[in-house]
């Protein structure tokens, strides 16, 4: 199957002044995103996330490399591609004196919608994002949450097959951020929209993304499904066995699935490839040793750990 995004050797640099040297923001980035995926581009501020998303969204020309989005070249076939993609960015900005309804109509017309189809589409989006009661409120009077909702509604005005989300929940309170995340998942599951999002919120990426890529200083240093990355980096779930007295006299390193282990006083910390699969066998071995357990703690590997491992 053709990837939704296929980029090879993307490079981009900017000058900060007329005589200033070029500052390289992206270096030889290769990226492949499957159709229907939610791909998260992760990285610290200044890593090049927005630059990458902007190139793929036809808003910026790359210096080197080439990228195809939905099978169309982002430079040569940008006009056709623009019909099929859209973008929602953090800190939504629209014209201050246009109402919610005016804004949606304006952007709808930019995609060639008019008459009844435009009316129906705007009504549908107003309902979908709970904006109907705010339809006559001008943008400058909307709360941050409503602005962000409008931004997402605008991004769906052309029924995009691929949606770029640049820090979609940045600056929102927890409740609103969660609401937006649910919307994103719904778009992907119910409408089959492929999503590429940038975030530096690892929890968010963990919650939303089927695949992630890590950008550091303009390079995509690792990408893949989270379990694959975990395996590649030798990271695993954490299992802590806390004994009532001395720990069971076992050769923990030889137990099935154990990647690393540490014995301290009454406590044994194990790193397992898959805690769910290995736990019964380990607990059985402990039981057979006739040592009593006071507590068992399991902590799945998280993205933060992967991120730490990759970026340091």
């Amino acid at each position: 199957m053709q990837p939704a995004i296929a980029a090879q050797g993307i490079g981009k640099g900017f000058r900060t002044g007329l005589w200033a040297p070029v500052k390289q923001v992206l270096r030889q980035v290769d990226l492949s995103v499957a159709p229907g995926a939610i791909f998260g581009v992760l990285g610290p501020n200044g890593a090049g996330k927005t630059t990458l998303i902007s190139i793929l969204a036809t808003l910026l020309l790359p210096d080197t490399g080439q990228a195809k989005v939905l099978g169309l070249d982002v430079v040569r076939e940008a006009a056709r591609l623009k019909e099929r993609i859209n973008l929602a960015a953090s800190g939504a900005h629209f014209l201050w004196c246009l109402t919610v309804e005016d804004s949606l109509r304006f952007y709808g017309r930019l995609y060639g919608l008019g008459g009844r189809p435009l009316y129906d589409k705007v009504e549908k989006l107003l309902d979908l994002f709970g904006l109907a009661e705010h339809r006559r409120v001008t943008f400058e009077r909307l709360s941050t949450g409503l602005k962000q909702r409008l931004s997402l509604a605008k991004a769906l005005i052309n029924d995009p097959e691929l949606l770029f989300l640049d820090e979609p929940t940045s600056g929102l309170d927890q409740e609103m951020a969660q609401h937006i995340r649910e919307e994103i998942l719904r778009l992907n599951r119910e409408l089959g929209v492929t999503l590429l999002l940038t975030t530096h919120n690892l929890r968010e990426a963990e919650m939303l993304c089927t695949e992630v890529g890590f950008l550091k200083e303009g390079r995509l240093i690792s990408e893949g499904r989270i379990p694959e990355l975990q395996k590649r980096l030798g990271l695993g779930d954490h299992l802590s066995l806390i004994f009532q007295d001395a720990p069971a006299p076992l050769d923990y390193g030889r137990l099935p699935g154990v990647l690393r282990h540490l014995v301290r006083d009454f406590r044994v910390d194990l790193v397992l490839d898959r805690a769910d699969d290995r736990l019964p066998a380990i607990l059985e071995a402990v039981y057979l040793s006739e040592r009593k357990l006071a507590q068992v703690k399991v902590k799945p590997v998280d993205l933060e750990e992967i991120y730490r491992e990759i970026t340091h």
Binding site: F14, A57, T58, I85, A89, H93, R105, F106, G112
Partner: protein
């Protein structure tokens, strides 16, 4: 009937421009207050100087021209400035719109506003200062107005190019450009009073010829033998050049990340 998608894209910019004007008190002031001040102050000055008949018309044509061109070019100049001020530029350019949609859509509103200003100022000139606007006839009036709007379009397109190159800093150019052009084209005086070197520059401005053409209906001799030919041909050439310039700066903006910087 299904209209072509380009119609809706052009209409989008027209409606947006019209809504901004309608909801912005300053836009209304711009359209009504300044033209009113312009025609009154210039008209009263002619009374103070005891100018008569044709000379009054000569001066008033200058005042009407200045305000009409100023207002008509603003919507075009502001087409991108609205997006820059609201930081929404990237949302406009991620959509499948062409430069022509922006220029025509915003320009249409400029044309309507310019026409309104011309009617208001012309009406006041007729009512208060006895100017005879019927003298050039419908054909003369239409050619003159067309010339004014073509000049406004050239100024507007050049300002757009500056906005794409320099961002918000180009805002001042929206006014400066037209004032410079108006100074050189002999707005309140025949270009023969300008220094010889400047007269050459005046001949490179199409508005000079349209003013020359319109004023000859009021008894002033033609400076150029074929003012409409020169005026329209220069206008078309400049329009093509300025469109090309905007296209080039847009291309450069895509390369230099200006669209993103202006959206932050």
């Amino acid at each position: 009937m299904k209209l072509p998608t380009s119609f809706y894209k052009i209409w989008a910019f027209s409606v947006r421009s019209a809504l901004v004007n309608r909801r912005n008190i300053f836009a209304m002031v711009e359209m009504l207050f300044w033209p009113l001040i312009g025609v009154l102050s210039v008209g009263l000055l002619t009374r103070f100087l005891h100018l008569e008949g044709e000379t009054v018309s000569f001066i008033l044509i200058g005042a009407v021209t200045m305000n009409t061109v100023q207002i008509a070019q603003l919507d075009l100049s502001y087409a991108l400035l609205y997006s820059v001020w609201s930081k929404s530029l990237k949302h406009e350019f991620i959509a499948p719109v062409r430069l022509a949609h922006i220029l025509i859509g915003s320009g249409l509103v400029g044309l309507v506003r310019g026409l309104l200003v011309f009617m208001i100022m012309g009406g006041l000139s007729v009512y208060l200062f006895d100017m005879d606007l019927r003298r050039p006839g419908l054909e003369g009036l239409t050619c003159f107005l067309l010339g004014l709007f073509l000049n406004a379009a050239i100024i507007g397109a050049l300002v757009l190019a500056l906005v794409l190159r320099f961002g918000q800093r180009a805002e001042v150019a929206a006014w400066a450009f037209s004032y410079l052009m108006l100074l050189l084209c002999g707005l309140y005086y025949p270009i023969s009073v300008l220094p010889r070197e400047i007269q050459f520059l005046a001949q490179l401005i199409p508005l000079t010829y349209f003013l020359d053409y319109f004023r000859h209906f009021y008894g002033f001799p033609l400076v150029s033998r074929h003012p409409l030919l020169y005026g329209f041909s220069q206008s078309v050439v400049y329009l093509i050049i300025s469109y090309g310039l905007v296209s080039l700066t847009l291309r450069s903006a895509y390369r230099r990340g200006v669209l993103l910087r202006l959206s932050d």
